[in-house]
Symmetry: none
Subunit: 242 residues, 4 copies
DNA sequence: AATGAATGAGTGTTCATTCAT
DNA sequence: TATGAATGAACACTCATTCAT
């Protein structure tokens, strides 16, 4: 549905397809992110990708298709880059904190692309839009699973897991969407540690808080900045769940 | 700066200007919301507004200018419609809850326009973009003021007020931005009451919680659905601040 | 179905529409006739018509639509220009001869356009193609009616009127289609008089032949060339019909 | 002049050339016939012929050259397929009737290709167009020779042999060109027998008519349909020629 | 003040043709 | 010989903007 298989003389070599598509989509993400979908021309993408205009139509059905794969690339980055960053982490609370942190750091690396997703998803044809939304939902479920693990193991009190997970997602996205308002006030690290304080800590049980304290002692408040952990505020105390 | 004062044959009668602009901008908001900025043509706006294409250029400098005023209209709706809904409400906790609720209800009535703001703000020329952002910040400060009042009066523990206020904003916006994912799960009323539970209640002091309980007994959980308040979960208890 | 009513800002003034359409279609017929449909660009038509490219799309849906009206113009010329040339002519045999002659003369003035019709009718969308064919059929019926009148009045023996009429049509068209082969051998007048000899005379009854002879004495063999009638060959004699 | 001899890396083996060309031209005739010259792409021809796009340019100079050979193939089919069908037929009247019949049957098998010839000959470069026209003239001469033989042997009265032969050609072509109008009224066989009645019989001498009658008794009115000959109409009687 | 016809630069897309392999 | 990926010029069509009325 996203391929150029319908194109008269579509390319057949799978390796080449992968390479060219990547090449073109990367150029597209860059330009769409900077200038927006409608103001970026196919010719610009071609030039940025170092190919001819015609070539793009051997790998994509139309401009919409380029956008689709560009957005998929971004959305899949979220989905694929969080798990590796959780690897080896056992403790549910630490996993949750890391998931939030990871999401924010990934978004930080894709700030413009994240904004692009918000700007341009509606420009997609409905069927493709649906597919992109499914990508987003999968990432949401990743976050939700972290929440559930905390609740299941008694580190977090009962909450609306779905909605809380969505807050994490929005919190990460906001780093890109509202970067113009946030970057003057917070470093990314600070933003993440504040996020933990606002959106995780209040829902932890005593046991969960204890775990979080331990983690902070080790990891420094999820902040890479030295001393970022010094300002220990009063935090929510939740009774043991169940 | 947004006017068409530079236009050759600009109209001079201020009353007429206001009327025509409103007429055109309302049409623009409708069409931009439905179809997006780039896919809406000036001719469509003219037809929707019941005027000629040429007329638009007597009241706006260019298409960008129409977008600018359209976005301003949306952003100012947030800013202007929240205060009246808080009128007469004295208790800081209730004000905060009502502010969140009001924001969500306003967004609900402007779902597409809210999405439009996210899609199209970057399409504005930088100077106009800045002005739109300032509109948003003013609304943020409205929310922030509500938080501060709660903290000042000891209903809420010390928090990062700026960021918490931003969570409220994002939470309201999310009702529009992620409506496709949320509407199947929550009614608006339920969404709001869950918002209170996730983003307000955890930060309340005991005193604040007591106040919230009282409000809920009166107002029914900020939910219009009968019995929506029945599922009272364990909620955060915060020690008195300071 | 051929209008530009679907166009965003189609023109509304009927007088203007007629004028502009005529202006553009005339340019199109000229260029399509000379260069063919596919090798003629919209820009060329615009230039030839003395208008801008964009204007064409205010009066035509697409290039196909221009072709459609161009072909209709040609086909309707046949249909509309034959009757006036028969006006005042009473005798069925003379009417038939004049019809054939008129058709050939009209085709002579539209040689390239006639070739265009053969080249490009298949390039039309099926529904429009059908409409053009109906135009052609109406002209055929004009010819057929002339044949029928001759038969009914006993000037012509019973024949397959439909097919004979079609021979007249093809004979006239051939003057355009095969002009490259014919123009070296015959003048148009000679061609017409040979047509009468081949496709009318053989089917005349004695009475019909007598009438034809009288007509020729008056009109000079349907040939404007002096002496074109000198080579009187043996011709078909048909018994009285019925 | 039609070859690809000028092509950089032209193929030299004559046998291969013949084979490849045939393969490609057959595919081209099929596609051009169905879709037209301009709407058929070289890539489609390549796929239909089961070769690569590049290969076509080793056997043809350009797309125009493919069209040229495609049209030649069609035109030569007429020229080459008529004589075999006349083989063994001695009587001039029968030969003439068979020639007309054969032409119609050949056209019937090449309906779309015949239309193609009318659509696309003008798309050829002038020099190539001339060559195609010469092919057509050779077929015309085939028909003309049949007419001449009839006249010479006294079966047909004196006529404009050239033009009559052209009528036969047009009659056959019309079966393709106007098939949309004819196929509802006549079977091919009926069409042919009507053609004999309209374009041959009227010009026969008494001797010729007698011969035709005999032929019909044997061959059934040039119609494959049983009983097609039953409806014997009044037909032209010509006095002996000379 | 208002109209809407006219403009023409700009864009997505196609496809004949080339050429490295 | 044969391939098919790559090219880029060319074209249909759109639409923001202008301006005569």
């Amino acid at each position: 549905m996203s391929t150029a298989a319908h194109v008269e003389s579509a390319v057949t070599d799978p390796k080449l397809i992968e390479e060219r598509r990547g090449q073109i989509v990367r150029a597209a993400v860059k330009l769409f992110s900077e200038e927006g979908f409608y103001t970026t021309t196919i010719q610009q993408i071609a030039r940025e990708a170092g190919v001819s205009t015609g070539l793009i139509y051997q790998y994509f059905k139309d401009k919409d298709d380029v956008l689709f794969l560009a957005l998929k690339l971004v959305l899949e980055t979220y989905e694929h880059e969080i798990p590796p960053r959780l690897e080896g982490i056992k403790h549910p609370v630490e996993r949750l904190c890391m998931a939030l942190s990871a999401y924010c750091f990934i978004v930080d690396g894709l700030k413009q692309a994240t904004v692009l997703a918000y700007r341009s998803t509606k420009s997609l044809r409905p069927d493709r839009r649906t597919l992109v939304k499914e990508d987003e939902l999968r990432t949401n479920r990743l976050m939700e699973a972290c929440v559930r693990a905390c609740v299941a193991r008694g580190y977090m009190c009962r909450v609306n897991e779905y909605l809380l997970a969505y807050q994490y997602v929005m919190f990460a996205h906001a780093w890109a969407l509202k970067n113009w308002a946030l970057r003057g006030r917070y470093s990314l690290a600070k933003y993440v540690s504040e996020g933990v304080r606002l959106l995780i800590e209040p829902f932890l049980t005593e046991k969960g808080c204890a775990a979080l304290d331990a983690i902070r002692r080790r990891n420094g408040d999820f902040s890479r900045e030295a001393g970022a952990a010094h300002q220990k505020p009063r935090r929510g105390r939740n009774a043991e769940a169940v």
